[in-house]
């Protein structure tokens, strides 16, 4: 295990974090609030990172899968620990368990909160809280890959461990260029969204935080009633469209940019994802028509909620805890479904379900025709058998983590629906669940221990289980 290289990478992460913390500092300055919480955090992060970069000089540059997994797991844990300091220093969230939960929820783009009155917090803190979504959405490591002068050839292992999805698809031969493109697209889409929101009359601060929340598919709002606070159809449409866009594989945007429309049309995953959104929105709209004035209004609320849940954002305009059980069940299922691989969304991902369905179809066919040979194709290309067996391993690990998480949460005082959806919403990085953790509720009533379990689930979900699971297992450290 090449520890010095791992620590050096973590050093870069800390320095980058210090740089990113300048933004909430500027925000606090603009609103005349105390900048000390941010200043202290920047100094701590910068000095720690700087020391690591100064004194750790790796002799060997070789980087393999094990180093990649550990780098990502360590970086995310350290970023969460440092990221919660502004909340603690400013006194906005005085207890560590709460601040840690809130920060992890931010970086993992979950959007679950322990805050009971969001609107009373200082502006700088609210900005940082939403900005963690934006940082975590595309990932800190990808950011570093994009700016670091020379990312070694082994860095692909780190990128693979951080970028969600079944397989990490490069856009350009160079990893650094790929990372840059990912961020260009990310920044451009975020800016366009800010412009749309400003155009509708939203204030600059609100536009920025909501764009951050949407881009990272996080879901922190600055209002207690989330997007429902505005009760404005234009904002809802803009946010719905952008939530759906950020749930699409970023490779699709790249293909659009290089005018390869043929490949875009062939993207099975994207069409399945959009198909699910359309179908489910209509079904729920029919189911809840009686609760609203007419079908159009029902569709307005159902489509927003569906887009918000499937992309794992977690904004809300309606309290779906009052909806019929059928609609609630669909939303819980969507929680697990998640968005496309290679997007900023969480969940199991549409690709995995699509591949599983294709595998099931083939396996059923082979039960009747044992000699038949069939290949599984996705996006017009054959999928390797190893990808499919990796997928099975992923699902087994997912069920394992979900079961343990559910069991531990059920020790706390929530009822069945609350405990189950709290687990599901955290593991899938969505935000709201049902019952006490519904769109109008929050996670503050849980005991500290449960909050740590939920924080761990969020990290497991964002990193797609393996980096953390392997970092906790001796296999990673054993030298054979």
């Amino acid at each position: 295990m090449n520890f010095s290289l791992i620590f050096r990478m973590v050093g870069w992460v800390l320095v980058a974090l210090a740089g990113l913390l300048l933004l909430p500092l500027i925000c606090a300055l603009c609103y005349g609030e105390s900048v000390l919480p941010y200043l202290y955090t920047i100094l701590l992060s910068g000095v720690l990172g700087g020391l690591a970069l100064l004194f750790i000089r790796p002799r060997k540059k070789a980087l393999y899968a094990r180093e990649g997994y550990l780098t990502v797991a360590l970086s995310w844990i350290i970023v969460s620990l440092i990221g919660c300091l502004p909340f603690l220093f400013s006194g906005a969230i005085p207890r560590f368990a709460d601040a840690f939960f809130e920060t992890v929820s931010g970086f993992t783009t979950t959007g679950s909160t322990i805050l009971t009155d969001i609107e009373s917090l200082p502006r700088g803190i609210l900005f940082w809280r939403s900005f963690t979504h934006w940082i975590g959405g595309m990932g800190v490591i990808v950011f570093i890959m994009a700016i670091l002068p020379s990312a070694g050839s082994g860095s692909v292992h780190i990128m693979k461990a951080e970028v969600p999805g079944t397989s990490f698809g490069k856009m350009a031969p160079k990893l650094k260029v790929t990372a840059k493109w990912l961020y260009y697209i990310y920044i451009a889409l975020t800016l366009i969204m800010v412009i749309f929101l400003l155009g509708g009359g939203m204030s600059l601060f609100d536009s920025l935080v909501h764009a951050f929340g949407t881009a990272g598919t996080g879901g922190f709002s600055v209002y207690n009633t989330s997007i429902g606070h505005y009760n404005n159809l234009y904002f809802e449409i803009v946010i719905t469209v952008f939530m759906l866009l950020f749930g699409i594989n970023f490779n699709v945007f790249f293909l659009l940019l290089i005018r390869d429309f043929k490949s875009v049309l062939k993207s099975d995953e994207m069409w399945t994802y959009l198909g699910i959104v359309a179908t489910v929105s209509l079904v729920i709209a029919f189911n809840i028509t009686s609760l609203y004035q007419n079908f159009a209004e029902a569709l307005r609320y159902s489509s927003f909620q569906v887009a918000s849940i499937i992309t794992t954002t977690g904004y809300s305009t309606a309290d779906f805890c009052n909806w019929p059980v059928f609609s609630q069940t669909i939303l819980v299922l969507l929680t697990f479904c998640g968005a496309c691989g290679g997007s900023t969304g969480g969940g199991i991902k549409v690709t995995r379900f699509l591949l599983m369905a294709k595998k099931l179809k083939r396996d059923l066919h082979q039960m009747i025709h044992p000699r038949s040979v069939k290949a599984i194709r996705l996006n017009g290309k054959q999928v390797e058998e190893s990808t499919i067996s990796d997928l099975t391993a992923y699902l087994v690990a997912y069920i394992f983590i979900a079961s343990i998480g559910f069991l531990l949460i059920s020790l706390d005082k929530g009822d069945f629906a609350t405990s189950f959806t709290a687990m599901a919403t955290c593991l899938n990085n969505v935000g709201p669940g049902l019952g006490a953790v519904g769109p109008t509720g929050n996670f503050s009533f849980f005991a500290d221990g449960t909050k740590y379990v939920l924080s761990a689930l969020m990290l497991f979900g964002r990193l797609e289980i393996f980096p953390l699971l392997l970092s906790l297992s001796p296999v990673l450290y054993r030298g054979r």
Binding site: A151, S153, V156, A172, P173, K174
Partner: protein, 451 residues
């Protein structure tokens, strides 16, 4: 540059790694996804699965904007076809690996007209390399610069050598000749030696000098060693054929041992001056019986690495002065080191070196000015030849002021017909050729070596 590599075998994989480290945008195409996996995991390249004879596959890999396509699949015809298609689709340059000389001889005009920039024959290149080593017996490897006016040899100092304990600045005086030690391997470390370096037994040195000075050096330090007169080649592969031809040109006696009857008969027919024996080259008794256990040099060229290692070890044990071993799998280098096998030839590395040399030269027309490049010390250091133009900022500045950075050495300056091994007072002038030795990979411009 944007480079597409077709075929991710040993050569393709090695090239992809080297070229991506040199900061090129590398795309690798192979028919089999399994061949691409290690590239995906360990190299900063993009991969495509598909048959590169299909124009759509090449188009998807971006051939229309590629600066260079390198075809190194196992099939000559595929390689040539890929290059033709790539040229039609807009690739600026193409390189094909072609093993069968029949495909190229007599048709070179045709191939040039369809735009093949370079063809590499790994067997012939390997044979040339081996022949060089046999002509200069004590050296491990020879490289040529400035159209052959400067040679660089790779020499391991024996423990009882008179060179031991000499500090480098005294070396020229002691030997009374113009040579320069420009790279050294001691233990695991590769270094560019400075004035404080003292030669020790076991050091591997990279020595530069004119061909006559180098020959003089070897006569002086080891008068017992002469040019090999009789060379035993075990294994009758294609390399053996090319090698036998080259050695015969140098008036050496060649004995080839080949197991397969048909192949042995073919070689006997194709090489009338060579002495072909049918038998198992690892069978020592057979060799003794046939009088093939002596000789000045032995080259192990069977198709199996392990066999070559065993044959070489037994030849070294018999006291044959020069033993050269062909190894195809670089993963075996640990064993080879332990077995004390010194002269190893790896055909795919030689092929890759030829291609890399061409790529660097191609780059020189696109900004840098590398004339030639050689990987020395097993590819852990490089020797590069630069042509100096008016744009070089250090023109006329004495080298004692123009200090090169650590790990870079200006080994020699070629000015007109003069070859200068520079000292502090010498300076670089426009029109010179400069040879730089460095442990850093990817040097593109002479001005990069200065502080």
């Amino acid at each position: 540059m944007k480079i597409i590599i077709v075929g991710n075998g040993k050569t393709g994989y090695h090239l992809a790694g080297q070229l991506s480290m040199d900061n090129h945008d590398v795309t690798v195409v192979d028919k089999f996804p399994a061949q691409l996996r290690s590239s995906q995991n360990n190299q900063d390249v993009i991969t495509y699965t598909g048959d590169a004879r299909n124009a759509d596959v090449l188009r998807e890999a971006g051939v229309n904007t590629a600066d260079l396509l390198i075809a190194v699949t196992s099939s000559d015809e595929t390689n040539l076809l890929c290059c033709m298609i790539a040229r039609e689709l807009g690739a600026a340059h193409t390189i094909a690996r072609v093993r069968d000389p029949q495909l190229l001889s007599g048709l070179s005009e045709i191939w040039r007209s369809v735009g093949l920039s370079l063809s590499v024959n790994p067997e012939s290149a390997a044979a040339t390399e081996i022949a060089h080593q046999l002509v200069l017996p004590a050296a491990v490897k020879v490289d040529f610069f400035a159209k052959g006016r400067v040679e660089m040899v790779d020499y391991t100092v024996p423990a009882d050598s008179p060179l031991c304990g000499i500090r480098l600045p005294q070396l020229t005086q002691k030997l009374k000749m113009q040579i320069l030690v420009c790279a050294a391997v001691r233990g695991d470390e590769v270094l560019i030696p400075d004035g404080t370096f003292t030669i020790q037994g076991g050091d591997r040195l990279g020595i530069a000098g004119s061909p006559t000075q180098i020959a003089k050096f070897f006569r002086l330090i080891d008068p017992t060693r002469k040019k090999a007169k009789t060379v035993i080649i075990i294994g009758g592969s294609t390399i053996s054929y090319y090698l036998a031809r080259l050695l015969e040109d140098n008036d050496m006696r060649v004995c080839i041992v080949e197991k397969d009857k048909a192949r042995a008969e073919y070689l006997a027919d194709a090489l009338p001056h060579a002495d072909v024996t049918r038998g198992d080259g690892s069978d020592e008794e057979m060799l003794r019986e046939e009088g093939l256990d002596g000789g000045d040099a032995l080259v192990a060229l069977t198709n199996v690495d392990q066999e070559n290692i065993v044959i070489s070890m037994s030849a070294q044990a018999r006291g044959i002065p020069k033993v050269i071993t062909k190894i195809d799998h670089t993963q075996l280098s640990g064993i080879i080191f332990k077995a004390n096998i010194q002269n190893v030839i790896t055909p795919h590395l030689i092929t890759a070196a030829h291609v890399l040399r061409y790529v660097r030269a191609l780059e020189s027309s696109l900004g840098s000015n590398v004339e030639a490049l050689s990987a020395i010390m097993d590819g852990r250091a490089e020797a590069l030849e630069f042509k100096v133009n008016d744009a070089f900022p250090g023109l006329g500045v004495p080298l004692r002021i123009l200090k090169p950075r650590r790990g870079y050495l200006i080994a020699c300056i070629i000015r007109g017909r003069q070859t200068i091994f520079p000292r502090g007072e010498d300076s670089i002038q426009a029109g010179d050729s400069v040879i730089v030795v460095t442990t850093h990979v990817g040097l593109n411009n002479l001005s990069e070596i200065m502080e």
